[in-house]
């Protein structure tokens, strides 16, 4: 724990953030007009039936009471039953967490594969063909809406070439991975633009730093300098960029999950807000928040592992 530079303080700091997130999402969703009863009743809506449902769901209690009930159930790990799916929310979450998690993981892996060589080489051969090519590709990539990229990828690699499945999630881990290749590429393109840019910038920074000059003056080869001294120093700040942008990556999955019909958390959340499925909204908010926070802690750990200066609080 301490070796990883984690402290209880760091973890304890997450609690108010989690609390804040649940509170804000709780209040926000209840401020919005619309009514779960409407959704549940559909065609069968009558004012009396709606009132009866609201009563039975506890929606006529004060918002504070409702929040209290939610908190109590969240602590015990039960999130109630979905209005829409008539299933325990926990169960729904279990189904939905996997695809999102895997999608983000595959995307992150892809991003690393794309950004690491591109960013570093673009910086080393600054102004070279690779640098320019990367720039142009990513300037365009950044300005394209992800869903359009997704559709084009499906058309080309799914339908025309038949290399990858056209949407869906498949059965079994291998199939899941196979199904997630195209969506992950779609997400990775805009996300990599950021990583490549910052990796390139940080590599240039490192290349220009004094210690690289000193290392080179030891008479060791350029590749050695790159591998031993440049890489790790260049990656460390990018780990932070990665963490900072993670929430936006998760946001991006909503659209991609839709395009590729992946049963993930993002689409569940949007759907749940639309149907005023409060228990689902609450639970998804909480789980997403925990997820993002954990990954942030993880990027922190990685940053600390990469950068010994952060391992211990330095006071000088």
């Amino acid at each position: 724990m301490r070796a990883l530079g984690l402290s209880w303080t760091r973890l304890a700091n997450l609690v108010p953030v989690l609390f804040g997130i649940t509170l804000v999402s709780f209040v926000l969703i209840r401020l919005v007009p619309g009514d779960p009863a409407t959704q549940i009743l559909g065609n069968r809506y009558t004012p009396e039936a709606a009132e009866q449902i609201r009563n039975s769901l506890g929606l006529n209690d004060s918002i504070l009471t409702q929040y209290g009930i939610f908190l109590r159930s969240a602590v015990t790990g039960s999130f109630g039953e979905s209005y829409q799916y008539h299933r325990p929310v926990g169960e729904i979450l279990v189904d939905r967490v996997g695809p999102s998690l895997l999608l983000v993981a595959v995307t992150a892996a892809l991003c690393t594969l794309i950004s690491l060589p591109l960013g570093v080489l673009a910086a080393v051969r600054r102004g070279g063909a690779l640098d320019q090519g990367t720039r142009i590709f990513f300037t365009l990539g950044y300005a394209l809406p992800a869903f359009l990229i997704g559709i084009v990828l499906i058309l080309v690699f799914g339908l025309r070439l038949g290399w990858f499945p056209i949407g869906g999630y498949g059965t079994g881990f291998g199939q899941h991975l196979y199904h997630l290749v195209l969506p992950a590429v779609t997400l990775a393109i805009p996300f990599s633009t950021v990583l490549v840019r910052s990796l390139r910038a940080s590599t240039i920074n490192v290349l220009e730093s004094d210690f690289v000059t000193i290392a080179r003056l030891k008479g060791i080869s350029g590749w050695t300098v790159l591998a031993r001294h440049v890489l790790r120093n260049a990656i460390a700040p990018v780990a932070v960029v990665f963490g900072v942008n993670l929430a936006f990556l998760v946001g991006g999955t909503v659209v991609i999950e839709n395009v590729f019909s992946i049963p993930g958390m993002g689409s569940l959340l949007v759907g749940a807000v639309a149907t005023r499925d409060y228990p689902v909204v609450q639970a998804v908010s909480l789980v997403l928040a925990v997820f993002v926070l954990l990954v942030n802690v993880l990027t922190d750990v990685v940053h600390r592992l990469l950068d010994p200066r952060l391992a211990v609080a330095v006071t000088r």
Partner: protein, 502 residues
């Protein structure tokens, strides 16, 4: 009793060609909400229910009459208040145990007792009891014409009481009933696998497995079909119908439905409380253009608020044609020679509705009414529309039973609970006519009553029916015999359907 008994057992089907491929893959656009028939709300899930659970009686594939299911015969008492159903002794649940009257009574009572459930349809029922293992008796306090239609509903699917009571997660694991298929895999958000029920007492399906996947994006579904990844998809985008039909490997089927699109009118607000204004709006609308742009001409312009070709649908009522002069004149009479401004509430993401809205905006502009299109997601949209004060709105209705009682009560009976589709329009005569029709067992007399109701709504225009939209399915040419009933069910066709290689 009159008309109450139908005697034939299901016809034994000829030993037709077996299916080359024994799996059918269907892609639906909507996730499964639950497979508990009493709680289902999503149509796609309801249509799946029908394959899993048998009911006492069922609707025939044409959607026009009731035929036996678990109950092979039934009779009603002379006063029409006691109904006795005799179960088919061969009926077994998928686990091999027999279907008993106790199971049936318990299942129907369970569904009827559920809050927010379907009990309201059969409020005249006072008790449902199993008098012996093969006999179910239903007692009514008043005569109730739609009773059989109600019992044919998915909600009254018969469940294995012991299994359901023993496992509170019964419906989220691998639920089964006495239908031709049982669930062997359920991932509500992505996949459902139905496997042939070998204990099924009726004719066996030719395919052994149905894989239903959830693919929410319309384009992705079409692409999956084009890529041969699935065999049948629901709701291909309307604009692709022509293109898909041109592909010899694919086909597009349009099945008549009970869907009625209508324009909600806010009667509680200023200009629309005047019937002349409503008539003017109605006269200005070009239903044909709407059909062209929203449904590529595949729908039928609506003449009444009853679903197309439903029992007692008043075919004779003329479909409104645009008459701008009349519309302007009506507006002038009502005191709005220069029109007025109003909102039109639509559901975002509903492509057909958005298209209809664009046409309505255009049509009404011609008589000086300036429409602003507002779109909300469904829950907000309906909440806004329901107050009757927030501008025009686009909504639709689908029937759950083949009897017109449901739509009549919701749409035209101010006392029916739904405020006449939330228009807050009502008149005594119409309410009475609907009530009478419910307990009237003479279908001819009911027909007259319903014709009167439909005419009144057409004249009063508390809302304006726009289109009868069909169910759209696309499938590979290798699929033979996929059929959908007007209520949306395809369970009958799965019994005989075959899948070829492709």
């Amino acid at each position: 009793g009159g008309g109450g008994s139908s005697t034939t057992a299901p016809e034994a089907s000829a030993p037709a060609a077996t299916s080359e491929v024994d799996t059918l893959k269907i892609a639906n656009g909507v996730a499964i909400d639950t497979l508990d028939p009493a709680e289902n709300a999503a149509n796609e899930s309801i249509w799946l229910d029908q394959n899993i659970y048998a009911r006492l009686v069922q609707t025939d594939p044409t959607g026009t009459k009731i035929v036996p299911d678990l109950a092979s015969t039934w009779e009603q008492s002379a006063d029409g208040l006691t109904w006795t159903f005799h179960l088919n002794p061969a009926a077994k649940f998928a686990d091999g145990s027999p279907v008993t009257a106790a199971d049936a009574a318990w299942s129907i009572n369970r569904a009827r007792a559920l809050e927010g459930g379907w009990g309201f349809l059969i409020t005249p029922v006072t008790s449902i009891t199993a008098t012996d293992p093969q006999t179910v008796v239903i007692k009514l306090k008043t005569k109730h014409a739609p009773l059989l239609a109600d019992l044919a509903m998915y909600a009254y699917g018969i469940l294995p009481q012991k299994a359901v009571e023993a496992d509170k997660d019964f419906f989220s694991k691998t639920p089964y009933g006495a239908g031709p298929f049982k669930v062997t895999k359920l991932e509500p958000d992505s996949q459902l696998v139905l496997t042939r029920n070998d204990s099924y007492w009726g004719p066996k399906p030719k395919i052994s497995t149905v894989e239903v996947s959830v693919v929410t994006n319309d384009n992705t579904r079409v692409l999956q079909l084009q890529g041969g990844q699935v065999d049948v998809i629901e709701n291909p985008p309307g604009n692709l119908v022509k293109q898909l039909s041109a592909n010899p490997k694919l086909k597009v089927d349009l099945f008549p439905s009970t869907r009625v699109d209508f324009l909600q009118v806010p009667l509680k607000s200023k200009p629309f409380e005047d019937v002349r204004v409503r008539q003017a709006v109605k006269a200005a609308l070009d239903l044909d253009a709407m059909n062209t742009l929203a449904y590529q001409g595949n729908a039928v312009p609506a003449n009444t608020f009853f679903p197309y070709k439903m029992l007692h649908w008043a075919e004779s009522i003329p479909t409104p044609k645009p008459d701008l002069d009349k519309a302007k004149q009506l507006l002038t009479e009502a005191g709005f020679p220069n029109g007025f401004k109003t909102d039109l509430i639509t559901v975002s993401g509903d492509a057909a509705g958005q298209a209809q809205a664009v046409v309505i905006k255009d049509d009404l502009a011609k008589i000086g009414i300036d429409v602003t299109i507002q779109s909300y997601e469904q829950s907000t949209a309906y909440t806004n529309e329901r107050s009757g004060t927030n501008g025009l709105g686009l909504r639709y209705w689908t029937n759950d039973i083949i009897d017109p009682d449901e739509v009549a009560t919701f749409g035209a009976d101010i006392k029916g609970g739904a405020n006449s589709f939330s228009s807050y329009w009502g008149d005594e005569a119409t309410s009475k006519a609907i009530n009478d029709a419910r307990s009237e067992t003479d279908e001819a007399k009911r027909g007259e009553l319903y014709a009167q109701v439909q005419q009144t709504i057409a004249d009063q225009a508390p809302f304006i029916p726009l289109a009868y939209a069909p169910f759209r399915y696309a499938s590979g040419a290798w699929v033979n015999g996929f059929q959908v009933s007007p209520l949306g069910n395809y369970n009958d066709s799965l019994l005989s359907l075959t899948v070829g290689t492709h």
